[in-house]
Symmetry: C2
Subunit: 313 residues, 2 copies
């Protein structure tokens, strides 16, 4: 008795990604014993070809990007990863080679980040490749980093460098030089800052990941704090001095951690950074006043920028 086509496809491609609780992807659901005495951390993100990735991106990087974007949400909460579920909507006639690359990339990242697929669904779509991923993580109760919690006087920090993802997208479209391919790699394979997020538990007062642009995301922290955020443009870490600031701070696709810490905790932040092997930079501070984000140039003058970040609607 042969398998129907959809199940043969799942068996051929996806079963190699299945972890112990996934029941070989042959049951209606997966079973997972939650780690004792921990809280679950759950997030879901979707990606659409032509919107969140380029239709001709290598299939090896597409699934990895979606997984890493979700892992970045766990990093922002200071959580460890447990597993994930993924739904894949594919146009009829998607080549087997595309699926092979897509799954091979995921297998590589599963090994790198120590998690596996728990379940999912594969459907056809009369439209672009559309992916959705739900990530499960865990954290000791009460220790998850939250967006709320920053206070006036706190300093604002960011990990890594800002703007590379947006520049990478522009480079892939031929609008920015990228001779080494560094920027394209940053666009296609963001680096979830899991070790840094975990190290910041008990230190950062508020934390999130930068996905929609530094300024827009700083606005979320400002609103959650009911405070103003001042950012010094000259301190925003760029991967090269010539990178255009306006695009870098509004472009999105960074997946760096943006967090608040009390000034007296700066040495602890720096120790966490060293322990995690991830650079951090102090770029501004929270001040009393209504929620707002101000970017200041080296003379202290507020800078005017065309748009605040990426929104789908």
């Amino acid at each position: 008795m042969s398998l129907p086509a959809e199940f043969a496809l799942i068996a051929r491609h996806f079963r190699r990604l299945a972890g112990p609780g996934a029941l070989d992807l042959q049951d209606d659901a997966a079973l997972l014993a939650p780690p004792a005495g921990r809280e679950l951390v759950l997030a879901a993100d979707a990606m659409v070809a032509g919107v969140h990735f380029l239709p001709d991106d290598p299939p090896e990087t597409i699934g990895r990007k979606l997984l890493r974007v979700n892992l970045s949400d766990l990093a922002a909460m200071g959580a460890d990863a447990l597993g994930y579920l993924m739904t894949v909507a594919l146009p009829q006639g998607t080549p087997d080679a595309w699926l092979e690359g897509f799954v091979a990339g995921l297998a590589e990242d599963q090994a790198l980040f120590g998690l596996s697929v728990l379940g999912g669904d594969t459907v056809s779509i009369p439209g672009p490749v559309t992916l959705s991923l739900t990530i499960l993580g865990a954290v000791e109760p009460g220790t998850a980093l939250r967006r709320v919690g920053a206070r006036p006087g706190d300093e604002l920090w960011v990990s890594g460098t800002i703007g590379d993802g947006a520049l990478g997208l522009r480079a892939l479209r031929g609008g920015f030089p990228d001779p080494s391919g560094f920027l394209a790699r940053r666009y296609r394979l963001p680096e979830p800052r899991l070790a840094l997020g975990a190290a910041l538990r008990g230190i950062a007062r508020a934390c999130m990941d930068v996905s929609d642009g530094l300024l827009q995301d700083a606005g979320h922290l400002a609103r959650a704090a009911g405070a103003a955020v001042e950012i010094e443009a000259a301190r925003v870490p760029l991967s090269a001095p010539g990178n255009p600031l306006a695009l870098c701070v509004t472009g999105g696709d960074d997946y760096e951690l943006l967090f608040a810490a009390a000034p007296e905790d700066a040495p602890r932040v720096e120790a966490a950074s060293r322990a995690a092997g991830t650079a951090v930079t102090r770029i501004g501070r929270f001040t009393p006043g209504p929620a707002a984000v101000t970017l200041r140039d080296e003379t202290g003058r507020p800078m005017d920028l065309p748009r605040e970040g990426w929104s789908h609607f």
Copy 2:
């Protein structure tokens, strides 16, 4: 400081669905304390307009159908629902009224089934409305119903009636009479058999839900058991005697439970059915032999059917 459009949309429409662990959908992830001493049960399903539902289906029923399809996976495992995450990919310019109806339907089902949204994502798509939902449930360790476990000699049972979903789709396309709208309702709003699934723990030896057609799904149980399945056509429960059998047993979209039980447990199955308020019918049996599904007419002759069920590829 005003919210960017995407976040305003989430605040306006989706926040009313958020449960306690969802942190008002304002953090990077949700937090959930797993119920002590229980296993998690996890499943994900996707639905695409024009494939899994009709683009002009009332928005009130579209989210409910996706939620119920996922709840049906929990029912098939005998699990209770805890919450869900959902990603929604919408074409630009989706009317606010559509979203209002979509969310109102979900709110109604959240109240009915006692769960709430934990998180998700809203993105734009240059294609049809595409939805993905991950459901979380829980079950006492070791008691989840599985697809594997049936043995030769076991009887095959099914809940409710078979074929109404497929006939409802045909009716909505003008190809089948449905004066009362009963079949259309069955297509748009499947009934997840959660009470029956829970009542069958410790009784059913194998269980799944019928989503891709009775015969195809019986094939999954046959393969998992390494046994043959014989189904008596005359016993397949139809909602009206004139319903076309071939379509009913291959059409899919039933979301009824299909399960195996030892013949001596028939009284326990019937007691579970009464306790859950869900009719069940014995439609066949497992026999020794290679995995295969045979549908027999009243004279015992094997019936030949054009196709076995629905597959996306």
